[in-house]
Amino acid sequence: MKNKQEVTSSVNQELNITQWMVFKDKVGRSWYRFRRNPISITGASMVLLVILLAMLAPYVTPYPHHAGAFTDLPNAFQSPSKTHWFGTDEIGRDLFTRVIFGYRISLILAVIVLGISVPLGVILGLTAGYFGGKIETIIMRFTDIFLALPPLVMALAICAAFTPTIEKAMLAIASIWWTWHCRLVHGITKSIKTEEFVQASRVIGDSHFRIIFKDILPNCISAIIVKITLDAGFVILVGAGLSFLGLGAQPPKSDLGTMISYGAQYLPMKWWTTIFPSFAILFLILGFNLLGDGLRDMLDVESEGI
């Protein structure tokens, strides 16, 4: 007959569980869910491929010096061949190289735009959702106004008002993009605010600041991450749209949108000058979308506590 002491201790016995072990378990589970889903794996691979290529651009491209100013008119408009996989453009530069360098600009655009708009939107959303009342009304109505403006049109207006450069394009897009994150976080904050654990923190005596950042924000993170991933594709698309209209990166820089724009005049004879850059954008955006969908599925399940 066991006595109660033995039963209790043997049942309560756990190996010394450290923070590291718990973290490893969490990561392991998330990875398991992630890799079961073919969509997320595909998306992740696509995005990773592009990022790697872009980072290592000078080393993986056959003609890195073609990326900027370079002319080789005799070689202009070569169709795709063994020496030029994507062919050459109207002044003889290798298209494959320029596409890879073009990815650099697109990715940097995404990073900077989201790097500005996400923190801004999140902070405004948290503030509006948590404090409510007049503050909420002011912030959210302000957000509504910006949301009513189509991003591309707004960006156009801003860019056209000043001399267009890639930096101004980024700022223009960022100036509207924060609204989506503000709205998203505002909604989540409002619902989390009524949860008992927030009330419990109030009863403990936590300051508003502490509650916002330690209780509410962690619950928004998964939604924000999914949105950032899906946004990345869309931001790149808007950026390419601006360049297409001549308002983004200026030649001789390799920018995908600009390439498409220049090449469009030569359709359908010299099709490669437009098709390959277009496909490149499609590939990247598709990758982000698939990745975002996969992440959303994975994080949804996690929030149910499985």
Partner: protein, 333 residues
């Protein structure tokens, strides 16, 4: 000047109902409608009722989640609605709450350690990280959880374990008074038994005072020395617990006790006769006139719908609010 730990006098809490674009108030949810009771140091006080009774709202008013519409709440002689910022800090260390649903009372994105060290940081109870860890280990052992649970997240804990963490959180600040709002309703029988015994043990060890809010009469019987029965925002009977169960006087109390499905023969035999016709619990937005229980009461007659009976002391320490219960001993107020 009374020397009760907690003194509630004519507490009222209405929640306005707002409609339309301009949020015009069209009525009130009369959640708490004139409640008075006292709790002494080291005492366990029980508050029983069904949905709409207002018992949970009272608990939340006592920890200042809500502010009263009318009435006074005195804790250690001080009015809790008139506390200075400094006093508020002290108050939060004195009065804590354990919520009903262990799933929602812990932040799923915070480790147990993070949840428990919150009060330590906010009230500057520990000097440094190592101190905090030591205190948390201590707390976990007090609620009979292995300290290994520190780095876990609520999703890997069972309901009973989460509730223990919630109790540990309440104990972090070393309170003298804990509001227990249905602390075991979401738990299984055997887990409930452990938690109740734990709470009783803690009470003895630290001379705590409890306000035990529940709809489970058997639990209230175990936990409370004095019990009040609430219905639609008012107290209809209040008595020492043993007397309330052995001699329930109000028709609603009798209905309540007889409705509980019981396991043991002795309970079955001790059940009072039901004095109700059945029917739904009315909404606290539009409570019945006079005595709120009259539409369901088998003793009701005309006076019951016209006049709200007073809370009258019909026996020593035993108060009943009913026109038809009269043992003429003393009348108070």
């Amino acid at each position: 000047m009374n020397n009760h730990l907690l003194s509630v006098d004519n507490l009222v809490k209405y929640f306005p109902i707002r409609v339309g674009f301009f949020q015009r108030p069209i009525g009130n949810v009369r959640s708490v409608d004139g409640v008075s009771f006292n709790v002494n140091k080291g005492e366990m006080f029980g508050l029983v009722g069904e949905s709409g009774s207002g018992k949970s709202t009272i608990g939340k008013i006592l920890v200042k989640i809500y502010n009263p519409t009318e009435g006074t709440v005195l804790f250690k002689g001080r009015d809790i609605t008139k506390l200075t910022k400094e006093d508020l800090g002290f108050f939060k260390k004195e009065v804590q709450i354990v919520f009903q649903d262990p799933k929602s009372s812990l932040n799923p994105r915070r480790s147990i350690k993070s949840t428990l060290e919150d009060p330590l940081i906010v009230h500057r109870i520990a000097k440094n990280e190592r101190d905090r860890e030591r205190i948390i280990r201590n707390l976990l052992q007090m609620v009979e959880l292995s300290p290994n649970y520190m780095y876990k997240y609520p999703s890997s804990l069972s309901g009973g374990q989460r509730q223990r963490v919630a109790i540990a959180r309440a104990l972090t600040v070393n309170p003298s008074f804990i509001i227990l709002d249905e602390p075991t309703s979401a738990l299984d029988v055997s887990v409930q038994a452990k938690i109740i015994h734990l709470l009783q043990g803690l009470q003895r060890e630290f001379n705590l005072s409890y306000l035990f809010i529940s709809h489970d009469l058997s639990l209230v019987r175990t936990m409370a020395r004095q019990t009040a029965v609430m219905y639609l925002g008012k107290i209809y009977e209040i008595a020492p617990t043993e007397r309330l169960f052995s001699m329930p006087l109000h028709p609603y109390t009798r209905t309540l006790i007889s409705s509980v499905p019981v396991v043991f023969k002795e309970e079955q035999q001790a059940k009072p006769t039901k004095q109700s016709w059945g029917g739904e619990i009315p909404s606290p937005v539009n409570p019945p006139s006079g005595c709120a229980f009259h539409p369901r009461c088998s003793l009701a007659d005309d006076i019951c719908s016209q006049q709200l009976p007073d809370l009258v002391e019909v026996m020593r320490d035993h108060f009943v609010r009913c026109h038809h219960v009269s043992f003429n001993m003393q009348s108070v107020k």
